[in-house]
Amino acid sequence: MNRMTTPSPAMIALVTELGDALGAAAMPAETTAELARVTAQTRALFSAAACSCALMDESGSELRFVAADGVGADAIVGVTLPLDRGLAGWVAMSGQPMSVSDVAADTRFARDIAEATEYVPTSIIAAPLATDDGEVLGVIEVLDPLLGEGNSGRDLQILGIIASQTASIVRLSTLYDGLGARLLAAFTANVTPEGVREAIGSSGLTHGDDGLAELAVAFHDLARSGPEASRFAASLLTQVAGYVRPGR
C-alpha cells in the first residue's frame, strides 16, 4: 500500500513554494496558439499577403512550419523543409535577418512555399528566432509586405525585434513544457546536491532561477531522508510533472 506520512508544516511550506515556482508553467498558452497570434499580428503590421513561422526540429536539420496567417496559411502549416534549402534555411543557419525584393527572379526561394500554397510571393522578409544566448529556434517570414517609400532597412529591423520576442515565447514554452519531467529526473536520480544543481542548470533555467535550483536541492534532500519521504517526494513531483504538461 502506498501509505504516506502526514506532511509536516515544513513539507507543506515546500509544496506551496513549489506551486508558486511552477505556477507560471501553466500560464503560457500553447506555443502554436501563441505563434498563430504572432503571425496574424505581424501580417497585419506589414499589410502583408502572409506571415509564417517555422521552428527547428530536434535534430537541427529541418524547419517545420507551425503557424501561419494569410494566403496559403492552411497549406503551409505542417510543411517541413530541409535547412539547406531556400531563404528560411539560410536565415536559420546564419542567424541573420534578410529580405529579398524580387523573389520571382529566382523561384527557388519561393518554391517550397509555392508547392504547398500555390502562391508565389515577389518579396520576402525573414528573421531568425534567436534567443538571447544566440540559439536559433526557428524563422519568421513575411510574404509580400507593403513596404514604405524607399527601403531603409527598418522593416528588417522591426521583424528582427518581433523575431527576438517570439523566440522568448518559444523558449519559455519549451522550457516549461519539459520542466516537470526534468525536475522529476533530477530529484529521483541518485546524485549529489551539486548534481541536482547541474541538472537544473542544464535545463536552461540559469538566469534568475536560483530559488528554483535551491528548491530542487531541498526536494532532493527530502527524497534522500528516508523511504517514506522519498515516496512522498516522488509522488508529489509526478503530480507536478503531470500538472505542468497538460494534454500529455
Binding site: 534549402r85 538571447d132 529591423q157
Partner: protein, 276 residues
C-alpha cells in the same frame, strides 16, 4: 531591450562626424587608388560559392565543413569544389569581385544541412582560413551560442595578431553576437544608398562600419541575380574595400586598416584637435 544598433547608428540624422588620423587627402587615393585586390586572399565563410557565376568569375579554392559525430573534432573538412546550398555565399563573392576584381576568393562552406554544432563549424572555418594564410575573412553570419564565446574570442584575437582581417556582419537583434561584437574584428551594418563605395564609421560601437546593404542586386544560385537587403550584404562591401587596401599596402595591420577606413568614411571630418 536595447534597440538594434545598426539601423539607428547609420541613419542620416544620427551619424555624427568622426575625427580620423590625418591621412593625405583624398584618403581613398592613399588607401586604395589603382588597387585591384591582387595578391590578397579572401575567404568567404558562408553557404558555399558558385564559382561559375559570371559575377564571381572563378574561385581560388574551396573547402566545406560538415558535422561528423564520428570524428573527435565533431566535423570533417572536404576540400574541393562544392555547390552553394542557398546562393548567399555567391552573393558575397560577387560583391567582393566587383570591388576588388583581382582578389583571390576562397569559399569556406560552414553553413550546412544541420544547425547542431554551428559554432564549431564557424570555428573550424576560421581555423582553416588562418592555417591557409587568408588575408581577409568575410563572415556574414553571427549569433553563436554562449559556449562559443571563449573559443571564437580566442581565434579572433589570434587572427588580429596575425594581421588577418575578420569582417563580420553585425546582428540587428538584441543580445550578444559572436564574433561580430569583438573589438578584434570589423563589424558591419547595412546603410541606405546605392553607392557600393559608400562607407560610414560609427562613433558609437560595437558596430563600427556601415556600408551598402539595402536593395543590392546580388549574384545568386543558378547564374541569376536577386535584389536583397541585410547586414550580410554590407559585410562583403567592406571586405572588398579591405582587399583593395591590403593589396596596395600589405603591411597595414588590422588597426591601421580600420584607421584607413575611418579616414575614407563619408562622415570623416577634419581633426578637431587642431594638430594638423
Amino acid at each position: 531591450v536595447t534597440l538594434p544598433e545598426w539601423s539607428h547608428a547609420f541613419a542620416p540624422g544620427e551619424l555624427s562626424p568622426t575625427s580620423p588620423l590625418p591621412l593625405p587627402e583624398p584618403a581613398q587615393e592613399w588607401g586604395w587608388s589603382a588597387a585591384t585586390g591582387r595578391g590578397v586572399k579572401v575567404a568567404i565563410l558562408d553557404s558555399g560559392v558558385d564559382g561559375s557565376h559570371p559575377m564571381v568569375g572563378g574561385l581560388a579554392g574551396s573547402v566545406a565543413f560538415e558535422p561528423d559525430p564520428d570524428d573527435p573534432s565533431a566535423y570533417r573538412a572536404i576540400e574541393g569544389e562544392h555547390a552553394d546550398l542557398v546562393g548567399h555565399g555567391t552573393a558575397c563573392a560577387g560583391i567582393i569581385r566587383a570591388l576588388a576584381p583581382d582578389a583571390e576568393i576562397f569559399s569556406v562552406r560552414v553553413l550546412g544541412a544541420n544547425l547542431k554544432g554551428r559554432g564549431g563549424l564557424f570555428l573550424a572555418g576560421i581555423r582553416w582560413a588562418l592555417d591557409h594564410d587568408m588575408d581577409i575573412l568575410n563572415m556574414s553570419l553571427s549569433s553563436s551560442s554562449e559556449q562559443w564565446f571563449g573559443p571564437l574570442h580566442e581565434v579572433a584575437d589570434e587572427a588580429y595578431f596575425r594581421g588577418v582581417l575578420m569582417v563580420c556582419a553585425a546582428n540587428n537583434m538584441p543580445g550578444p553576437t559572436y564574433p561580430s561584437q569583438f573589438a578584434s574584428v570589423l563589424s558591419v551594418a547595412a546603410r541606405e544608398g546605392s553607392d557600393p563605395w559608400s562607407l560610414a564609421y560609427n562613433p558609437r560601437p560595437p558596430v563600427e562600419f556601415g556600408a551598402r546593404g539595402i536593395d543590392v542586386e546580388v549574384a545568386w544560385n543558378g547564374g541569376k541575380t536577386i535584389v536583397a537587403s541585410g547586414n550580410s550584404f554590407a559585410t562583403p562591401h567592406v571586405a572588398g574595400m579591405c582587399a583593395l587596401i591590403r593589396s596596395k599596402r600589405p603591411w597595414l595591420t588590422p588597426f591601421q586598416v580600420k584607421s584607413v577606413l575611418q579616414a575614407i568614411a563619408d562622415n570623416a571630418a577634419p581633426s578637431s584637435d587642431g594638430g594638423a
